[in-house]
């Protein structure tokens, strides 16, 4: 190997650069999140705080919907747990690459782990070169995504404050449109469709339960129906491929 390894700074920059499509993709969602915060009853600092500390787009959107409908604390936290559970898969997949790093690396990289960064960095980590600073690439992608999300949240918050009567405009529909656009392409096989139907049915039947418990029941029903149909049909996915499963999932789930 004659070529020198990329420096830390080069890796950092490349990580940010390679995340560019993801940055562009996340921007509108940051704006929509910030804009919808006030109509959903979340204060300016609440919205910024959520992007600053939680930093998980899909669960932030769902939290807005839940806040607007007066859901309790436990339901919001529990829903966040369920929705973000996929990150544990990412965490497991990236572990081999960060295992050699100290906690002062692992903690921030874990905090910044998103669908987008996972997709970008697992590609870099998987490359055959033995470059010693690949975690700087990871850091570059993480920082770019984080700053981007904060910036667009702030832009949305300011936009929301400057437009009068935004709540009457019905922009909450943007959230329903977003969720629909995410779900529909995932309905590619019978278990997925059945999971969606089961979740929708239970959500409608249980919609008047207290504390939005209907949502939890509906999610559970969807997952159970999906898993049951899948195992009837198949093809034990087998032990050997947690990485494959995570990749598959990263591709399947539209990042938000």
């Amino acid at each position: 190997m004659t070529q020198p390894h990329p420096s830390r700074r080069t890796e950092l920059w490349h990580g940010a650069r390679d995340s560019l499509p993801m940055l562009v993709g996340a921007a509108p969602f940051g704006v929509i999140f910030g804009t919808l915060a006030a109509p959903s009853g979340l204060s300016v600092f609440g919205a910024l705080g959520m992007s600053l500390f939680v930093f998980a787009g899909s669960s932030q959107f769902i939290a807005l919907t839940l806040l607007a409908s007066g859901a309790g604390l436990a339901v919001i936290v529990l829903t966040t747990l369920v929705v973000n559970l996929r990150h544990a898969l990412y965490s497991a997949t990236l572990l081999p690459y960060v295992a050699g790093l100290g906690q002062r690396w692992r903690i921030p990289l874990a905090f910044w782990l998103t669908d987008e960064t996972f997709a970008v960095v697992q590609h870099r980590y998987g490359q055959a070169d033995d470059a010693p600073h690949k975690h700087w690439y990871h850091l570059g992608s993480s920082l770019a995504m984080y700053c981007n999300w904060l910036f667009w949240t702030l832009a949305g918050v300011l936009l929301g404050r400057s437009v009068e009567g935004l709540d009457k405009l019905g922009l909450e529909f943007a959230m329903a449109a977003t969720f629909t656009g995410i779900v529909v392409p995932m309905l590619r096989n019978v278990p997925m469709v059945a999971a969606a139907l089961a979740a929708a049915t239970v959500a409608l039947l249980a919609r008047n339960l207290d504390y939005k418990l209907g949502l939890m029941l509906a999610a559970l029903a969807g997952v159970v129906v999906g898993v049951c149909l899948e195992s009837r049909k198949t093809v034990a996915d087998g032990e050997g491929a947690p990485r494959k499963a995570a990749e598959d999932m990263g591709n399947r789930y539209e990042p938000l």
Partner: protein
Amino acid sequence: MSRYELAVIAGMTAVTFLIRYSFFALGDKVRFPPLVKRALHYVPVAVLTAITVPMVLLPDGQHWQLDWRNAWLMGALTSGLIAWRYKQLLAAIGGGLAVYFLWRFLFL
């Protein structure tokens, strides 16, 4: 920021970080049961559908509105069609919003 908001953000932060940090912290000592892995595939579809469908079919939260004058329904159908046909999330949102606002303008 109210105490309630503070609690919501603290709770969401805690669970999200713990999930993301789980394997980084524990290392190879834990493994994902295959069943859990498969179940996770269905979580996004189940949760998002469960949130969206009641919003769309009962826009005011109380009354069914199963007709073509329902702006939420028509907008969501548009988003769904665009997403299904073109797999472009932003186009799906934009198209759905356009139909939604048009319907509100026409029928409200």
